[in-house]
Symmetry: C2
């Protein structure tokens, strides 16, 4: 999977920059990142971006679309670890730890910025501010995983689903994927089940119940949150902070 020869999108005109959610760059930072960027990669929904155990030479920033990280057990049981939206970094582990212990797949058609793993060291050496951003992103991922852990470990099926959907629409909103009050998410029930440690059947039943109560709506490969408030009550959540975030 070779990246295309040149960056098609100039960082200067990166569509992500236009959004308030992302922090601004200095001229120098912009130049560096532009040079750091090896190219762009467009893949279709369902494509594997990298697989567990690989020592990919690249890391990626999602430019457009959705992706997800996951792990498999020998017998095929799958656990989805997290989702990646525009602005999110994928494959940092390979640059830092040397290898990857999870796989990543395109959830929707996807456009990725490709960076060379080896140059991450230059980034740290030359741009402490960007290095800090990378660490910011890693810490944030950690926080999202913490949140998933308590969900899967301690919440009931309804609570888990409510939490997942709310977290996703919030992240979608932050990433500028606004779509009226309720955001469409390109998920199948398989994805939801595998994200939450539930079986497909039980996920379906739970979702069905939520739909009957008018909290979410449903079409193949698309969820639609109708009543964020009520759903939030079910989820038992309060957090909804926002602040400008970095990305590279």
């Amino acid at each position: 999977m070779a990246p295309s020869p040149a960056g098609l999108t100039k960082c200067e005109r990166c569509p992500l920059r236009r959004q308030q959610a992302f922090r601004g760059f200095s001229r120098d930072e912009l130049d560096f990142v532009q040079d750091f960027k090896q190219g762009e990669l467009e893949v279709a929904a369902g494509t594997t971006i990298y697989a567990e155990g690989s020592e990919s030479a690249h890391l990626y920033t999602v430019l457009a679309g959705w992706a997800f990280r996951y792990k498999l057990l020998e017998d095929g049981r799958r656990q989805i670890l997290n989702y990646a939206l525009p602005g999110d970094l994928l494959g940092l582990q390979t640059a830092v730890l040397g290898s990857l212990e999870h796989s990543a797949e395109a959830l929707s058609d996807l456009k990725l910025c490709v960076f060379e793993r080896k140059r991450v060291l230059d980034l740290f050496a030359q741009f402490p501010s960007l290095a800090f951003d990378v660490t910011w992103l890693a810490s944030r991922e950690e926080r999202l995983l913490d949140e998933s852990l308590i969900s899967i470990g301690r919440r009931t099926a309804v609570e888990r689903i409510a939490n997942l959907l709310l977290a996703l629409i919030e992240r979608g909103r932050m990433a500028g994927l606004e779509n009226g009050n309720s955001l469409r998410v390109p998920l199948t029930q398989y994805h939801i089940a595998d994200s939450l440690g539930l079986s497909l059947v039980h996920t379906n039943r739970t979702l069905r119940r939520l739909a009957k109560d008018g909290l979410v709506s449903w079409r193949p490969s698309e969820v639609d949150v109708l009543e964020p408030g009520e759903l939030g009550r079910l989820a038992g959540r309060q957090t909804d902070f926002r602040m400008p975030r970095p990305f590279i």
Copy 2:
């Protein structure tokens, strides 16, 4: 909880440095870290190191002992997110994201190095190598969380317990807490249950079964892994790589 006035342990003579598992420091790095270190904190088992929602001014490296990170739900359900052993960093999120969304507690009597949150920026600006190490630690934490997630989400009770115990003794070994072939871990069954998303009762029964088969042994607040091999088979695990790791 104020740190003691001065670092009691000179970084130069830091006991962790003596172990092969940790990477060496240059003279400059050593001086910087020595200065970065604000003091030392010794707390008794059971003490809360920081609580969810706080914006602690400090971050910590575990010098000796065990700690754990956890989250609580409104009604008291608890999920333990991860454990921290000597060399592990605690509270990075506060320095990077501005606040903490989890709590941390001393599992055993604990000795911590205390660093000032604000100076993390200096660290990034002055020592790219150390900044990289911080990111290394964050990525590693992420990987551990990934591993927990698939455990809780997709593994059975026996598999979860086997995996947790093996992961802990391996980490203990890496951190130099070797203790013959089988390492003692200061865990109660409560901790195990809350780490794995299981009830106390079920955890006890499962553990009991493992003990009956001679795979683990048990005393209040102490587990003892007797048959790592057999347990590993149950856990369905293979990973057991080792490489020098950083810490600050």
